[in-house]
């Protein structure tokens, strides 16, 4: 197995520093396909960085235990927004641009567009790209794959084997056309978007769960030897879509206090939490589930404004 860390883009900053876009590359001995994991597009999302470390550690252990089991090539792009990650900034610092609205980019454009164009060029020809996100600092998500229905036919079979808990099939939103996943899928490169955990934090259990899904899918794609024994996929995902996902938005502003655990079955009318005020002892609003279902999104950051998202429930399928 050949391993190297390489700089794909180096741009001069105004004062004696450079921004570098770096990837790690693990090349196996066979003719298997290339796959990639991309993370850190948003500088406040760290779950994917740890996943990249775990993949690297797993591949390095694999080389010791099963030399030659890597047949294809695994590429890790842990820090797509290096300036944002280094400065705890969700956006690209000094530009205020969401890097995931800058794709497919342009090689002669502004810095975010050059990052995007570099990544698009580097990922050309990949058999699968997984773009890992960690929600934001406000919301915790159960491991899930989000699929635009435009690409569902090709992506759903891959998503179902990723060992996640939810597949969220969403409609076409024009603004999302500027994301890395949409841009890759539009060019025929299969790209899955994973959301898991919460911004600025790590959830190692989710990382291990997704790692199992990734290596199983990679084996099916021929990146790993077919005879390689892997931990089994244990999570069968629920299919969420616009008809069975219910949003709970805050009725008033205050401090949201959840009273249930994330990824818990809830009943219609069940109290999930409340909104209180720090100035008085009263409860301003109760938060109740609108349906029987499972809580797959839960607010992590307690302060809410009117309208802030507190939870999402995917409704339980009705029995015939």
């Amino acid at each position: 197995m050949e391993k190297r860390v390489e700089t794909l883009l180096s741009l001069e900053l105004p004062y004696r520093e450079r921004m570098r876009l770096v990837r790690s590359l693990y090349r196996g001995s066979g003719e298997g396909p290339r796959v990639a994991v991309v993370s850190g597009i948003h500088g406040d999302e760290l779950e994917g960085l740890y996943l990249c470390h775990r993949i690297a550690a797993w591949l390095e252990a694999l080389e010791r235990s099963h030399p030659g089991a890597l047949r294809g090539q695994v590429e890790l792009y842990p820090g797509m927004n290096p300036l944002g990650l280094d400065t705890l900034n969700r956006l690209v610092p000094s530009y205020g641009i969401d890097l995931n609205r800058a794709f497919p980019g342009h090689p002669q454009g502004l810095l975010p567009q050059r990052i995007a164009a570099t990544a698009m060029a580097a990922l050309e020809g990949a058999a699968l790209v997984v773009d890992v996100h960690a929600s934001n600092i406000y919301i915790r998500e159960i491991p899930q794959v989000r699929v635009n229905h435009v690409f569902a036919e090709r992506l759903l079979p891959l998503a179902e084997r990723m060992n996640v808990d939810v597949i969220w099939l969403h409609g076409a939103v024009t603004v999302l056309e500027a994301t890395i996943a949409h841009s890759l899928n539009a060019r025929g490169i299969p790209a899955l978007v994973v959301e898991m955990g919460v911004g600025m934090r790590l959830t190692p259990a989710y990382t291990e769960q997704l790692l199992v899904g990734l290596v199983n899918v990679w084996r099916e794609l021929g990146v790993l030897a077919p005879e390689l024994e892997l931990p089994p996929v244990t999570h069968a995902p629920l299919l969420a879509h616009e008809d069975n996902v219910h949003y709970l938005n805050a009725a008033t502003s205050g401090v949201f206090v959840p009273e249930v655990a994330h990824w818990e079955a809830v009943c219609e009318g069940e109290r999930l939490g409340c909104i209180v005020t720090p100035f008085e002892g009263q409860t301003l609003a109760e938060v109740c589930s609108p349906v029987d279902g499972i809580l797959f999104t839960l607010r992590e950051y307690p302060l809410v404004y009117e309208g802030s998202l507190m939870a999402r429930v995917v409704a339980k399928a009705r029995e015939a």
Partner: protein, 330 residues
């Protein structure tokens, strides 16, 4: 002064706050014009001009300006992003969401979706709708009319502002969530005015904007009796191929030697890029084309590839970079 409430919201710790607007003129008619400012909390020129304009229109409505008359009803929202304005934030400060990427909004949705829905609901009944913006913190824009995928009526009416540049752009994926785009589904005529740099109040630009709005009101019959000075510059329309985006080949300190709104020749000096450590000049930047200086970089720190200036050209000597920037919402 009577203020109407567009949206009243509670806050986690502060007292409730309003997004307020002016509703001036004959109340028995549908609004003829809706003006919106401060969708970005740093768009100070627009907020200031709209507050002054509202005062002017109220004077007209109250008969305090002899010889001038307000014939139509006008809605004015000086600032949409009230919280952002008060804490110097372009986006909605709590969750850092850009309100102009949330249209058409949703009344039962996230906070910024509710704000967007309320703005659209109020303004949709007007025939003319005008959204006023500064640029961002890096760039200064000359006062100009922006049209996005306009119809012929909008093209014709854009000249009524009397501003020297009408800049026409196709729609792109980023702008489909903007207020200007949401207005398109409501019919009527829709305009974006750009002037100045975010976070600054620039009196020269404000005066030009104010005059442009009054001229528009006069020429569309919203007000009557105005005596406009006859010193407007020649007006030109600039399509995508009539804009040259000058990008930096070097990183460093950029010192601009130009003012927006001036005509320059090919080869004229735009500015210098200095090494911030040694002080040496790293590059002398000259314009490759002749034209009108539409925007210039005011933030001195520039990376390789940053926009230094935008020159509007009378012929189609613009560059592909402009189309690329437009695609990226710049």
């Amino acid at each position: 002064m009577e203020a109407k409430t567009l949206l009243r919201m509670s806050a986690p710790l502060r007292e409730d706050f309003d997004i307020s607007y002016h509703d001036i003129g004959p109340q028995d008619r549908p609004p003829r014009v809706a003006l919106v400012g401060g969708v970005h909390g740093e768009a100070l020129n627009g907020v200031f001009v709209l507050s002054r304009l509202a005062g002017f229109l109220r004077d007209l409505a109250a008969g305090r300006r002899p010889g001038l008359e307000l014939a139509e009803r006008v809605l004015v929202i000086p600032a949409v992003n009230v919280l952002g304005l008060n804490v110097h934030s372009r986006a909605w400060p709590f969750d850092k969401i850009e309100i102009n990427r949330m249209f058409p909004g949703y009344e039962a949705g996230e906070t910024t979706q509710r704000v967007a829905a309320a703005v659209l609901k109020l303004t949709r009944s007007a025939y003319y709708r005008i959204d006023i913006h500064n640029s961002n913190a890096d760039l200064e824009e000359m006062p100009q009319v922006r049209l996005y995928a306009p119809n012929d009526d909008e093209r014709a009416s854009a000249c009524l502002f009397g501003l020297p540049a009408v800049v026409e752009r196709p729609m792109n994926t980023i702008f489909t969530t903007s207020l200007a785009h949401a207005w398109r589904a409501c019919g009527g005529e829709n305009f974006v005015l750009q002037a100045g740099r975010a976070g600054e109040l620039q009196p020269r630009h404000c005066e030009e904007l104010f005059r442009a709005l009054v001229a528009f009101f006069d020429r569309t019959g919203v007000v009557s009796g105005v005596q406009l000075a006859d010193d407007e510059e020649d007006l030109h329309y600039y399509g995508l191929r009539q804009s040259f985006a000058l990008l930096s080949d070097h990183a460093g300190f950029f010192v601009c030697r130009l003012e927006v709104g001036r005509w320059i020749h090919a080869g004229d000096l735009v500015g210098h890029i200095y090494d911030g450590f040694s002080g040496e000049i790293r590059a002398e930047v000259r314009s490759p084309v002749s034209g009108l200086v539409g925007s210039v970089r005011r933030h001195p720190l520039a990376c390789e590839g940053d926009l230094l200036a935008r020159i509007f050209t009378l012929d189609e000597s613009g560059n592909d970079v402009e189309a690329m920037l437009h695609d990226q919402g710049q």
